[in-house]
């Protein structure tokens, strides 16, 4: 096998040095009765060329961007990835390094993550950002756990029912063994969270909303802040489409305590949902409560500037059962991709990109309304929105799949009241023609 460099001569010399008679002799401490009799039942090994053929076959069955037109976001968004990103991120000094525990020979990763932390706080209006979490859902669950640790006597949080349904499912999973409770805040008629419902909730450690929310609507973050303050609860927000912050007022400007987000839109391939990028950022006063790694700036013995992992006493390898979280490996390489993306688009590009996303989505919505769809919510949106479909759309949607077009996501299984409602998304990758073709195909006759 080409990854194993041992020649028969090497093996013989090495065994002589270690004092073993054979390779099997190396495993003498394993009781004989437990050793595998025969071999593992796995497929026969493939050559490089056979593997390529096999994987080509598997991957070519997939309905995927850019070959197919998938008008769907809901937590995973098709965006252009500038060529510089795959080129730079494939440098193996980045990809094949371990966690930067030895800072002298890890300055590339460390400066890259420090720059990531800086740009994320700039984008979201917060003060500290971690070196990354797994994805938005896990980051949100951790944010809520911070609130519960800060408010020790409470065991409840209020979470908008318009937070991504998978994220709410994850919060319940994370909460179950500790006995914490998530109370869902209902939606109001305009497609945003019904903040008046929070008034009746007592003893809540946090109020959490997603904005833009799962239906695409931009939430009233000032209202959420007021309601959280009135309950003496932490104000937590999440987001799944990071490009929105190229255009919208950021959560920090509304006084959010902790922001959890998904960074996939920043140059990271959708890749069937993972690995994405969990963003976790907060006001400075929560710095010691944050889970996971932080990079800090310092100086070396020669007074040269450099970077190190810092405040690591919060972490599991020192704190063990008292750690702020169990996280060890994070999604650091994807944080570096996001940093590269943000550096590439820059101040000018992120604004243009965000505006074009909103333009394309607005055009798609108008076209679909002309084709017989009804606007479900009047509330402003960024690049996705819900519509009520005309009769017969379900059948057309099935037929379109055969043409490689995916026309939105049915919302009924997530929100039973939203019968015949679909969630659509358009980003900069869809041309006017793509959108017009979709509208023509689904036009109610």
């Amino acid at each position: 096998m080409r990854y194993l460099p041992h020649t028969p001569q090497d093996i013989a010399q090495m065994l002589q040095q270690t004092g073993h008679d054979s390779l099997d002799d190396l495993f003498a401490t394993i009781p004989e009765k437990f050793k595998i009799n025969g071999k593992l039942e796995l497929p026969e090994p493939l050559t490089e060329w056979e593997l390529n053929a096999h994987m080509d076959e598997l991957s070519s069955t997939m309905c995927a961007f850019p070959k197919n037109k998938i008008f769907l976001g809901a937590g995973s968004y098709p965006h252009y990835i500038p060529s510089v990103i795959p080129s730079l991120i494939s440098r193996s000094e980045f990809t094949t390094a371990y966690t930067p525990y030895q800072p002298e020979i890890s300055q590339g990763t460390l400066q890259g993550i420090y720059e990531f932390q800086t740009m994320i706080t700039e984008l979201l209006g917060t003060e500290v950002a971690t070196a990354s979490h797994y994805d938005c859902g896990t980051a949100l669950a951790e944010a809520l756990l911070i609130a519960l640790r800060k408010k020790k006597k409470l065991n409840k949080v209020a979470v908008s029912s318009l937070v991504h349904p998978h994220h709410r499912q994850m919060i319940n999973t994370y909460f179950a063994p500790a006995g914490f409770k998530m109370v869902e805040i209902p939606m109001s008629a305009d497609g945003t969270t019904d903040l008046t419902a929070v008034a009746a909730m007592d003893d809540i450690a946090a109020v959490a909303v997603q904005s833009p929310n799962f239906l695409g609507c931009i939430e009233d973050l000032a209202g959420v802040k007021a309601v959280a303050d009135s309950k003496n609860a932490l104000f937590i927000t999440s987001f799944t489409e990071g490009l929105a912050w190229g255009l919208l007022k950021n959560p920090g400007s509304f006084g959010a305590d902790i922001v959890a987000g998904e960074g996939q839109s920043f140059g990271i391939a959708q890749s069937f949902g993972g690995p994405g990028l969990g963003i976790l950022t907060a006001r400075k006063k929560y710095v010691r409560d944050l889970p996971g790694r932080l990079v800090g700036r310092t100086r070396d013995r020669n007074n040269e500037e450099g970077f190190v992992l810092t405040l690591s006493t919060r972490e599991q390898h020192i704190r063990r059962e008292k750690a702020s979280s169990n996280i060890c490996s994070n999604n650091g390489l994807n944080a570096l991709i996001a940093a590269m993306y943000l550096a590439t688009v820059g101040k000018i590009g992120i604004r243009e990109m965000a505006q074009i996303n909103h333009d394309k989505a607005s055009f798609l919505r108008d076209q679909l309304v002309d084709a017989g769809f009804e606007v479900a919510f009047e509330r402003p949106f960024f690049n996705e929105f819900a519509l009520k479909a005309p009769r017969g759309f379900g059948v057309k949607r099935q037929e379109l799949k055969k043409k490689g077009i995916l026309a939105g996501l049915s919302l009924e299984c997530y929100y039973p009241a939203l019968k015949n409602h679909y969630l659509f998304c358009a980003t900069e990758v869809f041309s006017r023609q793509d959108i017009e073709t979709l509208a023509k195909e689904v036009k109610h006759d």
């Binding site: 990854y3 194993l4 460099p5 190396l26 401490t29 394993i30 595998i36 593992l40 039942e41 796995l42 090994p45 493939l46 593997l51 598997l58 991957s59 069955t61 997939m62 309905c63 995927a64 961007f65 995973s76 098709p78 500038p82 510089v84 193996s92 000094e93 094949t96 371990y98 030895q102 800072p103 002298e104 890890s106 990763t109 890259g112 420090y114 706080t121 896990t138 500790a178 255009l247 950021n250 391939a269 890749s271 069937f272 949902g273 993972g274 994405g276 800090g296 040269e304 190190v308 810092t310 599991q316 059962e321 008292k322 490996s329 999604n331 943000l342 101040k347 000018i348 394309k360 402003p380």
Partner: protein, 485 residues
């Protein structure tokens, strides 16, 4: 100092991104606007965020220079104990980047994602076969996330049986993630000490195992690189009191194809695909931490589950006893694809050879350095060996000094000061992909460092000398944290 790879090369300086920024530059190709501008209500709109403004070449040069300050596995030997820094095959990256996979949306209908579902289904079977388990979930994002998933499964299993328990047994050699994962589930850690030979004794477990204890978390081979010879007996003790045995699979690289963890009495085990199955660690992640379980625990695994039917592969979302969901979508698919490609390239014999050569390499290092470094447990080791700085105590040179100096010789240092039970630990895991020639260079370099410790200790105290920066002031970094520019 002959035949080593470390030299002082040309090292570039490079400013922070925003220091390079100039008003008006932009490195992205702005997509054509073929639809009208749709103005959003100004109430919602902010000024553009103050991101740096750079040209495309600025970005390229910036990250190229940064990369040159990193030591990667492709740069040189990376013998970090418990991290299994083996070669990351390039062909695996090719598979993950295939457009059909890279551009796949995770929420499209099952019939449109058959290739991905087939891959996930088969990968689950392979991992179950390797460990002797009945079922696998690929959802956990990393090893610690797999541990948490496993703990949630244990918690749910006890809950279903009607009597929740409050404690979990964790040996003193465990990774820090073990107690942290257990405490996220509300379990109190009961720490037990390894026996004099560096492995757990059945007596130590029997003394604390009771009907309020949910189970035990055990790493095998353990973090001293030793096979837990009493594991089956320990598992029987735990099972007899109604507990479960969780296996931390971080060190699976030593026993793949040699022994199946299920045969040793383990009920749940996690994998680190970024260790054993060759996916790149990415300077901190993303990893992937699937877990496999015995038959009785399958109903508790997170949803959705992939099943194979007459009409192809399907995702099943309803499973009444499931713990729920651990990640937004289907796990770290891009990492799983790479690990799948690795297993398909290696086959059964290849994976078994991996374990054999990994153990051979560790024993070779142990034999090569045991006259120079103190060996706290002189027993047959598995895939890694643990030394200490005890022989150097008279020279005032510590493990840290030797670790820093080995960088100058062109090697990444081993894991140091872990496991915690060994004072001044130096934990070396060479992995199977290093050749005898590289191991010989590493042994010679370490011997030279040990010699320097006696003859020119100042050289070690001030090491490293060749990297871009010397030792950094971590105290000021923690006292007055500067976490953004």
């Amino acid at each position: 100092m002959t035949d080593t790879t470390g030299t002082g090369g040309l090292i570039f300086k490079e400013a922070l991104l925003w220091e390079k920024s100039r008003e008006g530059r932009c490195a992205v190709s702005i997509p054509t606007r073929d639809v009208p501008v749709a103005a959003l209500d100004p109430e919602f709109v902010a000024d553009a965020p103050e991101l740096p403004q750079l040209g495309e070449f600025d970005v390229v040069r910036h990250y190229t220079r940064l990369s040159q300050w990193n030591f990667g596995l492709d740069s040189g030997m990376y013998p970090l104990g418990s991290c299994t820094m083996k070669y990351n095959p390039k062909i695996n990256d090719v598979q993950a980047a295939r457009p059909g996979f890279a551009g796949a949306h995770p929420m499209i209908d099952d019939e449109l994602s058959q290739g991905a579902l087939e891959l996930l289904y088969n990968m689950e079977q392979y991992l179950a076969e390797i460990t002797g388990m009945a079922a696998t979930t690929l959802q956990p994002a990393a090893g610690a996330h797999g541990e948490l998933t496993g703990m949630l499964v244990i918690h749910a299993w006890h809950e279903k049986k009607g009597h929740q328990r409050s404690k979990i047994i964790i040996p003193d050699t465990a990774h820090g993630t073990n107690p942290a994962s257990a405490s996220l589930c509300g379990y109190e850690s009961v720490n037990i000490k390894s026996g004099p030979e560096g492995i757990l004794t059945p007596e130590a477990v029997a003394a604390v195992m009771d009907e309020e204890t949910a189970g035990i978390m055990i790493t095998n081979p353990n973090t001293l690189g030793l096979f837990e010879e009493n594991l089956r007996e320990i598992a029987d003790i735990v099972h007899a009191k109604g507990g479960l045995v969780y296996g931390d699979g971080a060190n699976l690289n030593a026993i793949m194809g040699i022994v199946k963890p299920a045969d040793l009495g383990i009920d749940i085990i996690h994998f680190n695909l970024h260790k054993t199955f060759s996916t790149p660690h990415g300077g901190g992640g993303p990893g992937s931490g699937p877990i496999s379980v015995v038959n009785e625990l399958e109903p508790f695994l997170p949803v959705p589950r992939v099943i194979k039917t007459d009409r192809g592969y399907q995702l099943v979302h309803n499973s009444p006893d499931s713990i729920g969901r651990m990640l937004t979508f289907h796990g770290h698919f891009g990492i799983i694809v790479r690990a799948y490609a690795y297993i398909r390239s290696m086959g059964a014999k290849g994976l078994t050879d991996v374990s054999k050569y990994a153990v051979l390499n560790a024993n070779y290092i142990k034999a090569g350095l045991k006259d120079d470094l103190h060996l706290p447990y002189d027993r047959p080791c598995m895939h890694e060996c643990v030394f200490t700085d005890k022989n150097q105590v008279d020279t005032d040179i510590t493990t840290l000094d030797m670790a820093k100096r080995i960088m100058d010789y062109g090697f990444h240092p081993p894991t140091i000061y872990f496991p915690l039970v060994v004072h001044g630990a130096i934990m070396i895991e060479p992995t199977e992909t290093e050749s005898k020639q590289t191991l010989d260079q590493f042994i010679a370099a370490f011997k030279a460092v040990v010699k320097e410790a006696e003859e020119t200790p100042e050289l070690l105290k001030k090491a490293p000398h060749l990297p871009k920066v010397s030792r950094l002031d971590e105290v000021t970094a923690a006292r007055k944290p500067i976490l953004r520019g």
